[in-house]
Symmetry: C2
Subunit: 280 residues, 2 copies
């Protein structure tokens, strides 16, 4: 094993992490699943098909952003669907909202869930909560016949190539929209503004065909390509920053490393070049 | 030469960049100065003592933030002092403000200036502007006898170890404060919130002893440690977001890749853990 785990993005640069050992490595029905123990403050790392999905050391940058930004825009989120997200980090954050009665995790790859339960307990801990229903199945099929079922849908997927590809289509987004209740919000990971400019342009063009409200928000993520990440905020009837759930905020903020109300409001202020990509 | 230029931070991870060749490498009186041509979208890279200072591909993330955030808080910035910043990127941005009559660049290492003029012309281009006075000297000595001379002082230094160490002391900050005019603002690079937590805590504790107003602002920088960077905003009499120079904004924003008014306002919203570090 080499001294460093390296992940180089198409722009020709990337991350290098001192590594100790590979704790798990197996091909599932969908992808290569690995857990690497790093010799760094990042701790253990989950990779899928050789791309970092999450690390113990910086996972909160991603999970607090994909969950609390849309959740705080909803007056009473009771039913939440998480698509992908088999590591459990997004579910853990969603469960911090006292209004939540049911979280459905729809993850296509059962091996990801099992491996994260075993090796990444601080991330996967929410998966055993009684409010959580875990479905090991294809979200593209699952969502097809759902109408008015969810207050919040979080698309915590891999990139738009490989197993996650079908989660970046007009048909899929339309089905997601139809499965949202009134006042419902979808948030979806939407790649790196630094190294995935073409993917972002394409994705937001599609989203805007489907959703009357479509905005981007961003935050730094140290281990993701370019150190900077975007999420799409989409809805039929809820505009960004039109509502803030003060009642739930104070308790949740106490338990977060990043998230607070000012930080929340600031997420929708984008760099010029990203405004251009999103507006198309 | 190995295939990758690597820079690993004390937290055990860092950046790896495909490299083509080392275009320049020489020990100056102060540090090792190198220009590396990368095989990536980052283009050419300046390193000092083996640490990346700037790249052609992502320099604007840093230079737009260190300059326009403080400059837009000033009603009429005419005289600006840039300490360090020998690559010229900060000077280039400062010169976009039509109010500016004089920029003093005080850089201790003349080799940095010469090398950047030769190899990084898109960054150093402002250095030949007639409003710019270049002083190759130690800013610690230069600032000692200056009183009420500058509207804006930008500390575009290296890290608090090596040649830049003396730029992180109470005595130096006090001299900076005394050299500011009424309504003056200092902005200083203040390391990575991800991997320099101790340095940030120490630096802001010092700054708060000197300046009545002291705040942090942050922005992503793809190639800096942790992909996330902080700057200190310090003044005797100007609070963050208390004034915005609308008159200069529209022209400047047109020429920026990142900077705009919403992005400006959002910079002062910090993650919880950074609020703790800064408030001490």
């Amino acid at each position: 094993m080499s001294e460093f785990y390296k992940e180089i993005n198409p722009a020709g640069f990337g991350i290098a992490i001192k590594q100790k050992e590979v704790l798990f490595s197996k091909q599932s029905d969908f992808q290569k699943v690995e857990i690497i123990d790093s010799d760094s403050e990042l701790g253990k790392i989950l990779t899928l098909d050789g791309l970092m999905m999450t690390t113990e050391g910086d996972e909160y940058y991603y999970h607090e952003m994909i969950s609390h930004i849309p959740m705080m825009h909803h007056k009473n989120p009771e039913t939440v669907l998480v698509i992908g997200g088999g590591d459990g980090g997004t579910v853990r954050e969603v469960l911090k909202h006292s209004s939540v009665k049911k979280v459905v995790l729809c993850e296509i790859d059962g091996m990801v869930i099992e491996v994260c339960k075993k090796y990444l307990p601080t991330i996967s801990c929410g998966l055993s909560d009684p409010r959580v229903e875990i479905l090991v199945e294809d979200a593209i099929e699952y969502i097809k016949d759902k109408k008015n079922e969810f207050d919040i849908i979080l698309i915590d997927s891999t990139d738009p190539m490989g197993p996650g590809e079908g989660l970046f289509t007009e048909e899929f987004y339309t089905n997601v929209k139809n499965s949202l209740k009134q006042g419902g919000i979808m948030a979806a990971q939407s790649e790196s503004p630094v190294v995935n400019k073409n993917e972002i342009k394409k994705m937001y063009a599609l989203l805007k065909k489907v959703f009357p409200v479509c905005a981007a928000y961003t935050s730094p993520i140290p281990t993701y390509p370019g150190g900077y990440w975007a999420w799409a905020f989409c809805s039929v009837d809820v505009k960004p920053l039109s509502y803030y759930a003060e009642d739930r905020a104070s308790e949740i903020i106490k338990s977060c490393k990043i998230y607070n109300k000012d930080y929340h409001n600031a997420r929708f202020a984008l760099p010029n070049y990203l405004i251009e990509l999103v507006e198309g």
